[in-house]
Symmetry: C2
Subunit: 438 residues, 2 copies
């Protein structure tokens, strides 16, 4: 027989062994210092909002680690950061792997950042194992996945995937009135030393695949004693902003019958929405978690209230039907205020591609790990990559299912298992492509 | 007949004529520039929180006008500002007249500040008319009546009256985490050039009387075509702060049945309080107008909510009975959160002294004005002066009854009428005292 290219599945074990549990954990803990705060229960949380100095510091730390092992950084117009491991055939479509680096305001040390560090760890392990891949692999950190500072989330991946234009959110303001467009410009100026790449698919060449590691953010893997979640898809999400305009008045003099009290109309609206969203199966997710009152003075009747709605469901039909009834329900419930309802995020459920999910399943099996096929309740950047290329995700257990909370935790061993599965998946995807196309 | 002291009622008309409608209006508009902002309806409002640089600027402007006509400034440990018109018998108890200079966050140009400027105008008119009063008259500007930045309101008058110790509110923080005690220290340091006077009643000598001019902040005078409100008393007020502690969680993954959602418990609490506070006669005032949510991120279930309750009623019994049921009602309504209810302000209803109310009635009649006896729905610094000395208030109409709002308005003619009544009342009180005691 003539010489053939090395079989990818044969080379992977070296890379698996090269994944360093200690190195990945140390990097996670180093990142956790950027925005560290102590939760009410004493847990160490992270508050690292996107496009803040802390976010930039985290990116610089990542770039330092990546360039030290020979990866090439570049950023696009949304601030999405790419760290490229070159393939032996640089012209082939790359495999992308990553997640995001921003956190919720009272978030944890794993959500998002682990997916980026796992991709770095996996690529570093491949390189240290001496494995060349024909396809390039790009570690990616998407801008503003959380939407905690600027809503909606997933701006970076949505713009990359062509789901929304690059300037779609320029006018979105954070809690301090800073426009997203201005924060982004300031950020790009601070990163002017990094090579700039065009936003989105370059030269019509979509990625070969996208893989994202993430903590589960729910209790299933832990409860069922599983190591790895083979994510089959993501439930749909719709976000709304509700604005109620009443009239301020003196709390001591204005008769209740004559008031246009925006707080009272908000209470009516939420009560009506609770009835609309009632779901005995407890599958539906309905959340009002952000409220702003103006003037927010205890003795001035509220003139204006803005509140958010986060509505999710795995079935597109439910998402469309009940989501469509949100505005009429609010209008029927409100008595005195002018009502504005704006949809700010609309992501229908997606299913991941077997090319990725089966690679994850094979890797978990090969490594002797217990794996469970499951949908994701949280949305992720991967949701927006689905129309672009075969995509998928790898979950690991979250202690007590807690996330978006300082108590969020996965152990060093659990995150190492996730990175090892990713290393094998990347080796396979970056090589199998060659086989398919060669 | 031997020479007798001038009869006060005979001298007053000169002072009435000396009240300048234009001067008082110009001063009101000059003050309105300090914190000016444009309301949603285009009205010019004022946002001048207590102990801010704007508050200091307003006080300096007032002191400039007062010292230019010979009044002597002094301040006490709470930052209360006094501008003294000396009596021919300086040892007699003074008559105090004034109000406050701070505003609501989205307040108007008249609430509070007019009462201070009316007192200055009245005293200036007395002096320009050549009227000497045997008693001193002190124009007073109380610190933090609104309670918009630091709750509760009326700190200055409460401390002056001995209702609360001077350091009672040192630990109260504003929305930016600044302590009242620190803001006050900074303010006093900035006013170190002003003579300092002891806090409260000096040498056991309570004021002879206290008179406060204020806009009505309700629609009655306008609706009934009256010029002057002879204020007979003030309804009682109780303020509460409610804190709910739940648990943050991921809005996309956490099942509703397992959440400890502080926003949902707030909605339950407010709905239950609405039922408790139901009043078909529409006399009771119940307001929730300030809400803070943590972490206030649309996709993180709310861990904590703080909201305020402002509850008022003219009957002490209702205030005590229903006020006492607020905490149990909240505890019964809340399902998942830990509850803390703190009472932050407690002022029972007061009745004003006939010595003042009758002087106001006589002055209005003498000036051919239409006057109505009425209680006050809003609380005022005068409420805390009642235990100390004969006290009373003079109301003028508020357009459409609107207050705590940029649209707050009283005309130049209306404020002039109020100042003229005050001038006569001050002349009478500062002289009649002599007759009563002489």
């Amino acid at each position: 027989m003539t010489e053939t290219p090395p079989a990818p599945k044969a080379t992977a074990p070296n890379a698996i062994a090269a994944v360093s549990e200690a190195r990945q954990w140390d990097r996670l803990m180093a990142m956790a210092k950027l925005g560290a705060f102590r939760g009410v229960d004493g847990s160490e949380g992270v508050n690292r909002a996107c496009l803040t100095p802390l976010d930039r510091e985290a990116r610089r730390l990542l770039i330092g680690w990546a360039t030290a092992i020979g990866l090439a950084p570049s950023i696009d117009a949304l601030g999405n950061l790419f760290l490229r491991h070159e393939g032996t055939e640089p012209g082939l479509a790359p495999v992308l792997a990553g997640s995001h680096m921003d956190s919720q305001p009272a978030g944890g040390r794993f959500d998002g950042i682990w997916g980026v560090l796992a991709a770095l760890e996996a690529v570093q392990a491949l390189r240290e194992a001496g494995i060349a891949t024909r396809r390039p692999i790009e570690v990616v950190a998407w801008t503003n996945e959380e939407g905690g500072r600027f809503a909606p989330g997933c701006m970076g991946s949505m713009a990359y995937a062509g789901n929304s234009p690059a300037d779609a959110w320029d006018a979105v303001v954070d809690g301090e009135g800073i426009r997203f467009g201005d924060a982004l410009r300031e950020h790009l100026a601070a990163e002017a030393d990094l090579p700039r790449r065009p936003l989105g698919v370059v030269g019509g060449q979509a990625p070969h695949a996208y893989v994202e590691c993430h903590i589960e953010q729910g209790p299933r893997l832990e409860t069922e004693g599983q190591d790895i979640g083979i994510v089959t898809g993501i439930q749909g999400s719709r976000w709304f902003l509700v604005e109620l305009l009443g009239a301020s008045a003196h709390a001591g003099t204005a008769p209740l019958s004559l008031r246009k009290d925006a707080v009272q109309d908000m209470v009516r609206a939420i009560a009506a929405l609770n009835a609309l969203m009632d779901d005995p199966t407890d599958v539906l997710r309905f959340t009002v978690a952000r409220i702003e009152v103006y003037p927010n003075s205890s003795n001035s009747v509220a003139e204006r209230v803005r509140f958010t709605i986060d509505f999710r469901h795995p079935a597109a039909k439910v998402l469309l039907d009940r989501g469509g009834r949100i505005e009429p329900t609010i209008r029927a419930a409100v008595r005195h205020c002018a009502v504005t309802v704006t949809e700010r995020f609309h992501a229908l459920p997606v299913e991941f591609d077997p090319m990725v999910t089966e690679a994850v399943a094979r890797a978990a099996t090969a490594q002797g790990l217990r794996a469970l096929r499951m949908p994701s309740g949280a949305f992720h950047d991967a949701q927006f990559m689905v129309p672009l290329c075969p995509s998928g995700m790898i979950f690991i257990p979250s202690r007590h299912g807690i996330s978006h909370n300082p108590a969020e935790y996965s152990s060093p061993e659990q995150v190492a298992k996730g990175a090892r599965v990713l290393a094998q998946v990347l080796a396979e995807l970056a090589d199998l492509a060659e086989l398919a196309e060669g």
